[in-house]
């Protein structure tokens, strides 16, 4: 198939999954316990890697930027640089990429192996809609949990930055904190929470689509997992650009 048609067909399938999930929100049956279970797996399960990523990203930002800021004698603004880059960009994007790797792959592998072992067909044959039972709880859980994980990554990133600034560059903690406070606005925080809502939707819908469209046995499951992580990650990065532009316009972020 022509690559453009293939892309459009996939886009149509993902859009249909999102639409059917959205419509399922408004009618019974609803699978609350499955949604809570997914929230636990996605949110609590991903917490350590996301916090670790945030901590070391904050740390390395200070490590790399502090000498430059020092050169211009504005090293007291190191907190501001870390906070703005973390909260606006790196927190949401890196959390989404980590979750895409950990959860997107797990979702597509689980659904893919259910497809090849006919469990999805069995579910439909038993009168259950897989979109309602499997897809919707995962998408909802990702949309709810990814912003919370992002906030956790942001906080640990700032802690990482403060630790590096203090231990390596001997900057006083209150100076760093004051710089952070001056550097970020409410709009930054709102923007940093809006982005992961969309990223959660992207990761969930792409992973579910790739899983449910698995073909070709166990080899196909492996292919679905790879495609899911790569596609979701690329879409997160592309969407991040357009979301940043939209948020700049809507929330007046990053303009002086």
């Amino acid at each position: 198939m022509n690559p453009i048609f293939k892309f459009l067909a996939e886009l149509q399938d993902v859009t249909l999954i999102i639409w059917r999930s959205f419509v399922s929100l408004f009618s019974s049956p609803r699978y609350y316990s499955e949604t809570i279970r997914q929230m636990d797996m996605i949110g609590v399960g991903s917490l350590p890697i996301v916090l670790l990523t945030g901590f070391f990203t904050g740390g390395v930002l200070v490590l790399q930027t502090f000498p430059t800021l020092e050169y211009y004698s504005i090293q007291n603004e190191s907190g501001r640089s870390v906070a703005t880059s973390l909260i606006r960009e790196l927190g949401p994007v890196l959390s989404a990429l980590m979750v895409s790797g950990r959860i997107g792959s797990a979702i597509s592998a689980e659904l893919g192996s259910m497809v090849v072992s006919q469990q999805i067909d069995a579910m439909r044959a038993l009168g259950t809609d897989p979109i309602r039972k499997l897809v919707l709880p995962r998408i909802v859980a990702l949309i709810v949990m990814l912003p919370l994980l992002t906030v956790g990554a942001d906080i640990f990133g700032l802690i990482g930055g403060a630790v590096v600034a203090n231990t390596i560059y001997n900057q006083e903690i209150p100076v760093f904190v004051e710089s952070v406070k001056n550097g970020i606005s409410t709009s930054d925080i709102i923007g940093g929470i809006i982005k992961p809502l969309f990223f959660g939707l992207i990761i969930g819908s792409v992973a579910c689509h790739k899983g449910l469209s698995t073909k070709g046995g166990t080899v196909g499951v492996g292919r679905s997992v790879t495609n899911s992580v790569v596609t979701a990650s690329i879409w997160v990065i592309i969407f991040d650009f357009f979301l940043s532009k939209a948020l700049q316009y809507l929330l007046d972020i990053g303009r002086f």
Partner: protein, 301 residues
Amino acid sequence: MLSANDAEIQAVPADKLQPMDISDAIDQPHRSQPAIEFRDVYLAFDDNVILDGISFSVRRGETKIVLGRSGGGKSTLIRLILGLLKPDAGQILIDGEEITGYDEPEMMDVRHKIGMVFQEGALFDSLSVYQNVAYRLLERGEDDEEVEAEVRRMLRFVDLEDAIDKMPNELSGGMRRRVGIARALVGDPQIVLYDEPTAGLDPPTARTICELAIKLRDLQDVSSIFVTHEMNNVRYLSSEYATVNDAGEVIYEKEGERLCLINTEIIMLRDGKIGFQGKDEELMRSKDPYIMGFIHGKLGP
């Protein structure tokens, strides 16, 4: 021979448990309506024609055995009945209701009437045997005690009550199929579809699966489609019937002078069309080289 406990699943009294006579269909007009009907159904994947104008019907209490080579559209028939696939043309009727144009929510209601036994069992790996068999009832939100009673009844029917707390990965291939049958039978569907339920099983286990299908056909009046390519299954299903003896035990007897089975017919798919339709005796007498090759396991390219 199965125990008396197994007979409790029967819906009709033991003295009436004989294969249907043609006069029953006349006495009970609703029985004249086929449980499943295909009318000139076409299906192709790209240029590959899978079904090329298939028409047949399955009467109530009848078993249609569908034979054919691998990839010949046998399983596709079943997927069409369940609405997992849609035909390119033609009509499919379940209980006289045309389902061809139904969307997914409408098909959910139709699927409640149908039990489906998958090739490998298709049990949900993350759920126990109990949860698998109870799946349909739990989805309906039925009372826990009633669910457990029904699950135990079904597991007794397939002689697996002891496995109720096991996970699917602890079961053998044959046990998985039997749990699959128990799951399909919950809610007493009047239509059961078997998709190669004995593939890869040892002969005694395959025989047990066939006996379950015979028991459902003759004691429960279930209409079914039994997809297979194993001639042993054809022999069992088309020459034996289940009845209940004086001790209340389910027994299997061969058709003969006393009783001739009229509730089982064979369909053979060939190049997307029905290559043969009739009784097992007619199949065995056929001089068609393709059919003879199929029966004797020497199918040409």
